[in-house]
């Protein structure tokens, strides 16, 4: 194996860098993760199953994964749009807007949570008009989606933006000169190139949302069975010194997240390959 890698690799120092990367991955990612699994393995299988299929836990998985998915979809659509507008069009205040996009990364999540709660509670600037329409935002799953959208906003913008910037205008000109309409050019020429980056942004936004805690606990109201997210359930169990129970739920979260990321990555590779074949 080692010999074969050596023969095939054109990179100098491949063995060293590979070993270094693996060591890093082990220290920072794999060891903490295996500690989680080890901790929960102090439970018997039936205990584990009872904890992770508790109705309260099931309700929290539905909220966490459902709201994260919705928020990532919103971010995919609007993040793509924002990236497109920032790269392609010139308008006053463009640079300012470009800088503002990173705000959700810089703002402490708890501050963001409190600000969003203030805006979307029934007497807030957005909450009052929404309440007049009969929509409650804060302390409902909708509030969770709003907060998760805020948190994941920069990912799609920042992954799509450089790809759009590097896109060769000549390809679009060729497409237009061959009689394609602007819309055809967009979805047959531009979109396939940008799609893998957009999916990466979606995945990042989605996985960030699944683990998000700080901004949600204020706006959700944390009602068990209704607006309680899984990370909060884990913290609640930790506060009750139920370490095994907390890690059992963490293991389920990790497992589901890993499976979803694997599926999304596979999809992404497939879109990449399709493009390669077509090109």
């Amino acid at each position: 194996m080692a010999k074969r890698l050596k023969e095939h690799s054109v990179l100098p120092g491949f063995g060293l860098t590979m070993g270094f990367s693996l060591l890093y991955l082990c220290l920072i990612v794999l060891i903490p993760l295996s500690a989680t699994v080890l901790r929960s393995s102090t439970l018997s299988w039936s205990q584990f199953w009872t904890i992770v299929t508790d109705p309260r836990a099931l309700a929290s998985y539905r909220l966490t994964f459902g709201a994260s998915f919705l928020a990532a979809v919103v971010n995919l659509v609007f993040g793509f749009l924002v990236a497109w507008v920032l790269v392609r069009y010139r308008f006053p205040g463009r640079r300012l807007v470009d800088g503002l996009v990173d705000l959700p990364f810089a703002l402490p999540t708890a501050v963001a949570g409190i600000a969003l709660t203030a805006i979307y509670s029934e007497k807030g600037w957005m909450g009052a008009p929404l309440a007049a329409l009969g929509i409650k935002a804060a302390y409902t799953p909708l509030g969770v989606v709003i907060a998760l959208t805020f948190i994941g906003l920069p990912f799609v913008v920042r992954t799509v933006q450089p790809v759009l910037e590097d896109l060769d205008r000549e390809v679009e000109e060729a497409s237009a000169s061959l009689g394609a309409s602007r819309w055809t050019t967009f979805h047959r020429v531009i979109l396939p190139v940008v799609l893998p980056a957009a999916i990466t942004g979606f995945t990042l936004s989605f996985s960030r949302a699944i683990g998000e805690y700080g901004s949600i606990i204020f706006i959700s109201g944390n009602m068990p069975m209704k607006t309680e997210i899984t990370p909060l359930l884990i913290v609640t169990k930790l506060e009750q010194y139920d370490y095994a129970g907390a890690t059992a739920i963490a293991v389920v979260m990790l497992g589901v997240s890993f499976a979803m990321l694997l599926v999304i990555n596979t999809l992404q590779r497939m879109t990449g390959q399709k493009r390669a074949v077509r090109g």
Binding site: F78, W84, R90, L100, I119, R169, A176, R182, N222, E239
Partner: protein, 104 residues
Amino acid sequence: MSGGIQRAGESRATAEPPIVRATLIGVALVFLALFLLLPLFVIFVEGLRQGVGAYFAALGERLELTHVATNRDTFAQGALRAAKWIANHPAGRYAMADVLGLSG
């Protein structure tokens, strides 16, 4: 609108009609205003709500001890803890300080 937005040297074949551009820019800006600017603005408004004077007064010195409950879980957990504790005790009159072991 179109003159200011259109890139120099860009041919019409690889550009969207002005109305499409304006719509896209409008939608993107409204989305960002709602999701980014509004929270930022609220933070500043809330931070300076008591007036700039109060803010500068606070730069001198200040010691506060405040209890703010944002969640009923806290109280529920206290109640549960007290219930667990009292289950093993004979009938009588107890205070929270007894539950927490602070009564000596």
